[in-house]
Structures are given as structure tokens and as C-alpha cells.
Symmetry: C2
Subunit: 498 residues, 2 copies
């Protein structure tokens, strides 16, 4: 393919993408296919000779489209958003198109340097403590990672390394592996599964403490757990608090958790994967009060800030904690912070994409006010939907935070389960379930940028019709056999995936 | 930005990228800037209001381009290639443009299913053992990861988990943390730094064994090290062999290493990050003889197979080893292998980009023969350059493998160091150094797809002129003061980065 064919092919693909978005409402949000569907559509062996690009977009239409779940459809209310914006798509395209990769600074100075500035822009937009910014005096700074899973793991490893070094000075009788075998970390049982996975990977047991009724980490339980573990001779090293849990978008109270971490010298990591973006709006900033206690703070620009996957932002108060944990040749010499950081020592992989470009393009095109407008539109829509549900006595809105709400059908839990089953079978809107205060609830998250009040009426009508159907057909079954167990597809359960 | 502005902006960006490539030789491969250069060019605060996209490409030109190291320039001979092809760029664009993310199967069936088929296509192209393929009977399979660092780490963690479970059945007196504290892994001192980093992150000491003169893992040393460690009561669990080392593209002998791993029940992981792609050509396949002993095999399609970063391919013989290590809720139930795998349980992050699209587009456009032609063109060019150097008695070609060679200036080591310094100051071609048989050598890797014989003559002329200059000016210094120490920029040393 020469450069002129590239121009032609790439521009045809731009039109394909634009058309896809313009006609997104025509596509059923969930596909009508079964596992293994692609085997009949794609040859089992690679082609010996190349073919003209003209066939490719046709095959995308015939082979790929029928097997896609349409995350950008207004009818996709499952999980949290896979963020999207046109300038971000173009920024990502440019990054790929230039074909540059960042290792150390000299292999791509602009890659590192634009990232440094973008991390400061974002930090200022979210009004986080100055100590996290690259432009501050101290050793703090921000970096783009792929996912929150990576951010949580990286900080756990840094906390582990830091704790081992601290304990060694206090207890010179212990060797590294003795100390490592006695480290312990904490989070709530409503935190994302990636938190538990980080403990598993980093070989630090992650105690998932019982959260309160609203899904928040209970500070008293945390304190007791740390005290218990200290008595057992263990070394508490890492606490993960969540701002905006995956299930119900609950907010842990950092003002209460922070002082406990400070008292016991434990690294506090704050996971705001979804909710972090909302702090761009001053009216939501109270939810992060106490963030000054955190050693590290993470949010996914690819969840609720118009940036395409992947783009997870991590700030730390002291980058040397990462550098000391990840650098094979450990640089204990003071790094000059007025020059550029070597991000390769802040992360697991060595190479890096030029992900700052998509942030630069999006922020400049939207402006801070434009991003606020987007966040407020999405949270406004959830309020609108909540009002629709509240007017219908069959439904109970159980909780509502930012652009997420959870609701259920009043009465027996099986009604909600049957509703989920029907919605999933019909594939007209995509929602998933969660367990809230021992009840099955339907998580409903405003995800698509295109979502409108009309789309919410469509969703409500779909839900309402299915409930009509269930209540008409099953009233007797339900009232007579309260313990009748409804089995529903595992893939609808958030607990099974998130 | 509405969809019509997107069409306009994205197409302008396509032209920008195409023009960039058409004029790549006009750009100095290394930039003329100092750390922190961007601060004067980008505002320190984000804009309040959005602006028209028309300004963005102009600013890319003014702010980003002057700070880029041009990986796609034919004058970029450092590291290994950052692979590039136009169909791969378009495949990546489509992935971003559709805005779909893979979690479990139902969130993007086509994302998983196309990946399953592409892994088989690649496995067949590279002629790897059938047991690694998704289409084989057993529990083997392939997955796309971001980087080789991730692949090595993931397999180390799986090997760790597997070994702990194995040892527990033999030694029920030991608890998990006792066993974990006694695990040990092995590689050669010429393996990539990411191998050592994997040990650091996974808390398994990585013994880097002295390699032979050619940079190959010494099988005898490996056997002795394992036996020593067993005597000390340790549990050997993981060996990483390299096909195509980062420094000199040396090949460990799997036929000798494999039986040792088998004898001691140790997981053999084969890292062929760069060289793996070459196995698409039958004439290079003998270099992977013995691969049947490996439990896992990794190569970077983003290094030497025309796929843009990131796209690292990992195959394992038994996916349950990954699933058991990474699944928070462990599914010991037999998975149906004739349906689709749940890749989220094979990796650290939860979310996944649709990276199979760029593989599909590239392989179909090039065909297997087209990819072979590309590999042979690049290896042919290194032979051509080797012949040029050999005709000049001032140079010694120290080693040559695939599309990489290492050479030095005959005589005192300082001559080569001075040459490196001059090349780095002049920024006309980009090479880096390595230490080979105790001498400083210049690594010269054919990277750009556009590289031609004419470009190699340009590189040779640049090198030759600088050597002329050094020999004329420094002949007396060099011959009189053999121990005169030349300090050269650390960022030129591969050891400092790779």
C-alpha cells in the first residue's frame, strides 16, 4: 500500500466511522450472534498473497459489525462509559500515524513533555492538591497509564517497596522476604475487582472490609483491622479508597480514612476511575475532600472525560517511590525536577504511545467549560430518568450518583431478575445488574455522548412494557412462590466482571 | 465538534500524516531541543473555552514536530524498529473510531473472536507448535498484550502460581508464603531489562546467568544454577530464554535449554520480541528449534512485523495457568474451548482495545508473501551495509543477525566512543552503543520500511567522515594516552534503557 492508497483508504475509513456514528440508533445495541460466530466468516488460514484494501471495509461491515456490542449507542447503559470524542479520535490517529514511541526522553522528547503539561492541565482542572503536579516544587507528578488496574498495581508495588525499606530501618533483624511475607493491604468489598487482583499479583493480601449500607469503606473497621494486624505482627502497607464505586458510584470518606492512614504510616491510594472526571465541575469537588491525605490518585480520562480508551491518569506525591520500585538500576541520586521525567521508570512497560496528543486535542477543542457542560448534561439526564421512574409506582430508585442510578421493581426480588432477563433477551437496551442492600438492582448509567431525553423515553418504554408483561403473566407465580429462584445469564452480573 | 467537522479534521490529519511520511528524509532524525523545551510553547493552564480545530495541526507542526525523534526516518538505526504500515494505521484508526472496548465476551464478541483467529493466523505463519494455537484440541491459545514486559510478567506470575500449587502437594508442611519466599527464576545477563523487572515486580529473584561470548544463555550454567538452588532448598520456577537479544540479536539454544527445564519441571518462557517475526520466513525457522519445550512464547508484532505499537503476541500451552493466576474468582470448572475465551482472565488489565483489527488489515493487505518480502528486504539491507563496512579497513563488523549488526572502529575502544559522540552531536543518523566482548560497539538496526541502499550510503558517508575527523585530530592523543576516558552521553547506551 503506497502513500496515496493510504490517503484513499484512511479517508474512506473516516467516512465509515462518521457514518457509523450518524446511524448508531439503527443498530441493535447487543448483537444476535453466538460464541464462535466468526469461524464461518473468516478463513482459518492467512492469505498467501495480499489483496486490495477495497475489500476490507466491506468485510468490516459483514463480519465485524454483526458481532459488535455498540458502546457508543445511546441504548448502552451498562458498566460505565467508554469515553469518546472526535478530537480524541483524531489525536489518537495522529499518534499512530506519526509512528513514534517513547522509551527514555531522547527517543521522543515531545511525547514526554506534552504529557507533563497535560498532567498539570488535568490536575488544575480537577483542583487536586498542588503536591501532585509536575509543576510543583516537590517530587510529585502525573503520568498516563493504560488502565486503573495498572495504576493500582503500580502504587501497591511502590507502597510495598517503601514499606519494606521503612520496616528494615526499624527492624534490622528482619530480611526482605520476612517483611514481604507480612505485608497487608485494605480496601472495601465494594471496590473494583482490579484492587483485589493487584493484591493477588503483587503478593500482598488485600483485606476487603465490609462496607456500610451505602457501599462505603467503614473507617472504624479500617482502623480496627490495622490495629488487629499490627498485633499479629503484620505490616499494613496500602489502603485503596474509592471515589465512585463501580457498583453504585459511592464515595468513601477521605476525611475520615486519611487520618487513619497517616497515623499508621500506610500509603493511601485513591481510585476515582469513573468519578474523578466530575471534579472538573466545582459543585462535585466536595466529594474529594481529604484528598490531601492520599499518596496517589487515579482517574480514567477514558471513562467520563471524552478520551478514547486507553488513558488512565495517575498522580503521585513522590515519584521517587515509583522510581525506586521499578528501576532495575536504582537511581538514588536526586533527579532534576525542572527538566523532564523519565516516565519509563514510573511504570511496568518500557515503551509508551503518544497518548498526550488525544488529551491536548480534546481539551483545546472543548475547553474546560465544554467539558463541564458535557458532565452536567450527562448528570442532568440521569436526574431526568430518575424523575420518569419516580412517577411510576412500580419502580423504586435505590441510589443515584453522578450519571448512574440503580433501580428495582418494587416487591419480590424475582421481578427485577425477570425484567433483566427479558431486557437481555430482547437486546433493545443494555443494562446490567448489581446487588444493593441485598436486593437485585438494575444499574443504569448514562454513557453515550449522544444520549438524549428521547432516548431515555425509549428506554423507559422498553422497561415499562417488559414489566407489564411480567406482571400480567407472572403475578400468581410471584405472589405464590416467593422463593422461586430465577437464574439469569451470568454475563449480566457486574460482580462477575467489573 | 460535530460529525462533519470530524470528517474534515480527520481527513486533514490523514493528509498531514501522509505528507509527514513523504517528506521524512527532510527531517533531522534527532531533535535540536533541550529538556523542558515545551514550557515556552504550551500555556501552563488549560483553555477555558474551546477553539476551532484548525489551530491544532498548525500547533502540531510548531510545537510537536521540533521535539520529535523520527522513528520512521530511514536515518533511525537505534534500538529495534517501531513497526509501521499503512493498513495497520487504518486498522488502529477504525478500532478507536468505533469506540468499542472489550471486557468479557458479550461486551465485544467481535473483539475477542477476531483476536482468536488472528492468533491462529500468526501462529501458523510462524510455524509454532500446534499446542499453542486456539484452534488446537488442548487448552493452549494466543492473546494480544501491550508489551513484552507485560507478557513476561504475566507468565512469571502464572509460573509462580503453578509452582506454589505443585510444591504444596509435595510439601504439605509449607504454607504459600513460605514457598513464595523460596522461588527463583533464571535468564541470561543479555536478556532484556524487562525480564529482570518482571522478577522485581513479581517478587521472584531473577538470576541473570553469565552468557557465553556470543551473548547466549549457557545451558551448563543454567543446569548448575538450578541444582545449586535446589540444594539450598529453593524452588526454581521460571526460565526466560531469548531468541534475538536486544543487544546483538543472539539466539539462546532452546534444544539444550528445553530439556533442562523439562527435567526440573520449570516453566520455560521464550522471549522473541524482535526476532519472532522472522520465523514467517522458512529460512530462519531453525533458530526456534526446541520451541516445543516452551510453556509460553512471545513476540512483538510491533517490532518487526509491520504493526504499529502496541501489539505484543503471547501464546501459552495451557491457558488455565493464566486463568488460575489472574481470576479473582477462580474458575476451576473446565472451560469450553470450542467457544470463545474470556481474555480478561488472561491478563492484568480488565479492558482491551480492538487490536486484532490492525493485524487483520495488515495481513490481508500484505499477504504472507508480502510480509516475507519485507523481512527479506530488511535483512538484505543489513548484508549490504555489512559489505560496505567490510570494504573499509577502519571498521570491524563484530556480529550480524537478522537486520541488526554491531561494528566498531578498529583499534582503541575510545575511537568508537568518540565516533558515537560525534554522531550523536551531529544528529544526522541515530545509532546507540552496546558492549560486546568487552568492547564498545555501535548497534546498527535497519528500522524504517523506507530504508534503501542510498540511505545506507548516506549513513556510511556520515560515519566515515566523522572517523576521518577523529583520526586526523586525535591520532596522537589516542596512541599516547590509551587510558584516556571518553565520557559519552548516557542516553546513547542501550544498557541504560533497553
Amino acid at each position: 500500500m503506497d502513500v496515496n492508497e493510504f490517503r484513499e483508504f484512511a479517508k474512506a475509513t473516516i467516512d465509515y466511522i462518521a457514518d457509523y456514528h450518524e446511524n448508531i440508533r439503527d443498530k441493535q445495541v447487543l448483537p444476535d450472534i453466538s460464541p464462535g460466530y466468526i469461524k464461518d466468516k473468516v478463513p482459518s488460514d492467512p492469505p498467501k498473497e495480499g489483496e486490495h484494501w477495497g475489500n476490507l471495509l466491506k468485510d468490516v461491515n459483514d463480519v465485524i459489525l454483526p458481532g459488535l456490542t455498540h458502546w457508543q449507542s445511546p441504548n448502552f447503559y451498562a458498566y460505565y462509559p467508554a469515553s469518546y470524542s472526535f478530537p480524541s479520535v483524531v489525536g489518537d490517529l495522529l499518534s499512530t500515524g506519526l509512528g513514534c514511541v517513547g522509551l527514555n526522553w531522547i527517543t521522543g522528547p515531545a511525547i514526554t513533555e506534552l504529557e507533563v503539561v497535560m498532567m498539570d492541565w488535568l490536575g488544575k482542572m480537577l483542583d487536586i492538591p498542588l503536591a501532585f503536579l509536575n509543576c510543583s516544587e516537590g517530587p510529585g507528578g502525573g503520568i498516563i497509564k493504560g488502565t486503573a488496574s495498572e495504576a493500582t498495581l503500580v502504587c501497591l508495588l511502590a507502597a510495598k517497596d517503601k514499606t519494606v525499606r521503612r520496616v528494615k530501618t526499624l527492624r534490622p533483624d528482619l530480611c526482605d522476604s520476612d517483611i514481604k511475607g507480612k505485608l497487608v493491604a485494605y480496601s472495601s468489598d465494594h471496590s473494583n475487582s482490579s484492587i483485589e487482583k493487584a493484591g493477588l499479583i503483587g503478593s500482598v493480601p488485600m483485606r476487603l472490609l465490609l462496607s456500610d449500607d451505602e457501599g462505603r469503606l467503614n473507617p472504624q473497621f479500617l482502623k480496627e483491622a490495622i490495629e488487629q494486624d499490627l498485633k499479629l505482627g503484620l505490616f499494613p502497607c496500602y489502603v485503596v479508597a474509592t471515589l465512585g464505586t463501580t457498583g453504585t458510584c459511592s464515595f468513601d470518606n477521605l476525611q475520615e480514612i486519611g487520618p487513619i492512614c497517616e497515623e499508621f504510616n500506610v500509603w493511601l491510594h485513591v481510585d476515582a476511575a469513573y468519578a474523578g472526571a466530575a471534579f472538573v465541575c466545582p459543585e462535585y469537588r466536595y466529594l474529594k475532600n481529604g484528598l490531601e491525605y492520599a499518596e496517589s490518585f487515579n482517574f480514567n480520562a477514558h471513562k467520563f472525560m471524552l478520551i478514547n480508551f486507553d488513558c488512565s491518569i495517575l498522580w503521585v506525591k513522590n515519584a521517587f517511590n515509583l522510581i525506586n520500585a521499578f528501576t532495575v538500576e536504582r537511581p538514588y541520586l536526586k533527579h532534576e525536577y525542572d527538566s523532564a521525567p523519565e516516565y519509563m521508570h514510573w511504570q511496568i512497560p518500557l515503551g509508551r504511545r503518544f497518548r498526550a496528543l488525544k488529551l491536548w486535542f480534546m481539551i483545546r477543542t472543548y475547553g474546560v467549560e465544554g467539558i463541564r457542560k458535557y458532565i452536567r448534561k450527562q448528570t442532568g439526564l440521569i436526574n431526568y430518568f430518575s424523575e420518569i421512574l419516580k412517577k411510576d409506582s412500580r419502580f423504586e430508585v435505590c441510589c443515584k450518583n453522578l450519571a448512574l442510578l440503580c433501580f428495582r421493581v418494587r416487591g419480590d426480588d424475582n421481578l427485577t431478575k425477570m425484567l433483566l432477563n427479558k431486557l437481555y433477551e430482547r437486546k433493545q437496551i443494555y443494562v446490567i445488574s448489581y446487588t444493593y442492600k441485598k436486593n437485585t438492582v438494575i444499574r443504569f448509567s448514562i454513557n453515550s455522548n449522544e444520549c438524549s431525553e428521547a432516548d431515555l423515553h425509549f428506554a423507559y418504554t422498553e422497561i415499562s412494557n417488559q414489566v407489564d408483561d411480567i406482571l400480567n403473566k407472572n403475578f400468581i407465580v410471584i405472589t405464590k412462590e416467593v422463593n422461586f429462584k430465577i437464574e439469569f445469564d451470568k454475563s449480566m452480573e457486574l460482580e462477575n466482571i467489573h
